[in-house]
């Protein structure tokens, strides 16, 4: 399996607890992985390790057959990680947050794409309202519009659909399908069941530490 993401004998640890038996899976471009499991089973930890935040206890990671380091700039520029927290500064408005994110991703000017992303998630009307005055669902939509405004081949999403209403979930499902159709990959940690039309390439259930 040459192209796509491959993980071999990955071991996860949070603090002193070994979280999961060793994990191995291969994700081809155009597919996504659904991660499920109770709280504290290591879903978020796996996403954080793959994003380059956490530290790998053991195991090997391959991208298109080549081993890589999660904390390298090369990996970080092709990955977008959406954490539990939305990563939005409360004092800034949605639009300002996205422009700040553009500077984080070293983009000189990203206003059209940001505008398009906000339109897609129907947040244009509220784009200049400080985020602390928005509802959890609205903040989630702004966080998701980040995925639209900035290119990345690998999405690491920690419960992307929490607090989203039905319309929001459908929009996200279409957005994800477009991303996958364009050859992108994604790993989703979810509690709620996803819309049926989203068929995960692989399902991984992380149980209590075995």
């Amino acid at each position: 399996m040459s192209s796509g993401l491959a993980i071999r004998a990955l071991e996860l640890r949070r603090g002193r607890r070994l979280l999961s038996r060793s994990l191995s899976f291969e994700l081809a471009p155009g597919g996504f992985i659904e991660l499920s499991g109770p709280n504290g089973s290591g879903k978020s930890t796996l996403l954080r390790v793959l994003s380059g935040l956490g530290r790998l206890e053991a195991g090997e990671l391959l991208w298109d057959g080549r081993s890589f380091n999660c904390a390298s700039d090369e990996h970080r520029s092709r990955t977008l990680y959406l954490a539990h927290t939305d990563g939005l500064k409360g004092a800034l408005s949605g639009e300002e947050n996205l422009h700040l994110f553009a500077s984080l991703r070293q983009f000189r000017d990203r206003s059209e794409e940001i505008q398009e992303g906000l339109d897609y998630y129907e947040m244009t009307g509220l784009k200049s309202v400080p985020c602390l005055r928005l509802s959890q669902g609205q903040r989630r939509r702004i966080a998701l519009s980040r995925l639209r405004a900035f290119p990345a081949s690998l999405w690491l999403l920690d419960e992307p659909t929490t607090a989203l209403d039905r319309g929001g979930i459908d929009r996200f499902a279409d957005h994800l399908s477009d991303h996958l159709a364009a050859g992108g990959m994604a790993i989703l940690a979810t509690h709620q069941s996803l819309p049926e039309r989203l068929k995960p390439a692989i399902r991984i259930a992380l149980g209590r530490s075995s």
Binding site: R76, D86, L88, A91, S103, L104, Q106, F107
Partner: protein, 222 residues
């Protein structure tokens, strides 16, 4: 516009927007400085001797207490995560963040210090040296305080802890800074003290951002 300049302007803009919180150190600075004449004696001869020391210890405490939650809000909002994940240099971003803090919080202290120190009957001719020393010192202290803030970012509240951790490390800055002003007041040559302070300035500005970014990453690798 260059992403770094955009980032710096948004940081300064943000702190300016919450300037009430950023100006607390200034209020603290003024109050503490005016306590000393009450605690000692109003006679100029005595005040003149302690004036630089009072201002410098006061600046140090105000800076450390102001810096304590430098990264906390970004940490809780998940923004710090995006900093670490961004494919750009974390050291430079931390550097800009500390300079933005310095501009909004420490600069007012420097602007205010001549007035306060004149209350303590400090000779006017030595004000220039005091301001140069305070400029070098506050920037250095801001970076040391930011290191303390980064080391304790995941703790709920760590007000005193940052001061306790960093005051021992900041003693050389206090010694050279306060004495450069003292020497200037006594018509002695303050230049050696200022050069030593400048050495600490460059040493800190050069090395500490790396330590700060390591400290921030540490709080994430649970």
């Amino acid at each position: 516009m260059n992403p770094w300049i955009q980032f710096f302007r948004s940081e300064v803009g943000l702190s300016w927007r919450e300037r009430r919180r950023a100006l607390l150190p200034l209020v603290f600075f003024v109050i503490v400085a005016s306590l000393f004449p009450l605690a000692m004696s109003p006679r100029p001869l005595i005040l003149k001797l302690i004036a630089p020391g009072v201002i410098w210890v006061d600046v140090m405490l105000a800076t450390f207490l102001g810096l304590e939650s430098l990264f906390r809000q970004d940490y809780e909002e998940g923004v710090l995560e995006q900093w670490i994940l961004s494919p750009s240099s974390l050291e430079l971003r931390v550097f800009l963040k500390v300079i933005s803090f310095w501009t909004v919080t420490s600069l007012p202290l420097i602007v205010m210090s001549p007035i306060l120190i004149l209350w303590l009957s400090f000779p006017v001719r030595a004000l220039g040296i005091l301001l140069v020393g305070l400029f070098l010192g506050t920037v250095t202290l801001s970076f040391l305080g930011a290191l303390g803030a980064a080391l304790t970012v995941s703790l709920r509240q760590s007000g005193m802890l940052v001061a306790i951790l960093l005051l021992p490390l900041a003693t050389p800055i206090l010694i050279f800074g306060a004495h450069s002003a003292l020497l200037a007041a006594d018509k002695q040559n303050p230049r050696p003290a200022l050069y030593l302070l400048a050495t600490l300035f460059f040493l800190t500005v050069g090395l500490v951002p790396k330590a700060i970014s390591t400290a921030l990453k540490v709080s994430y690798e649970v």
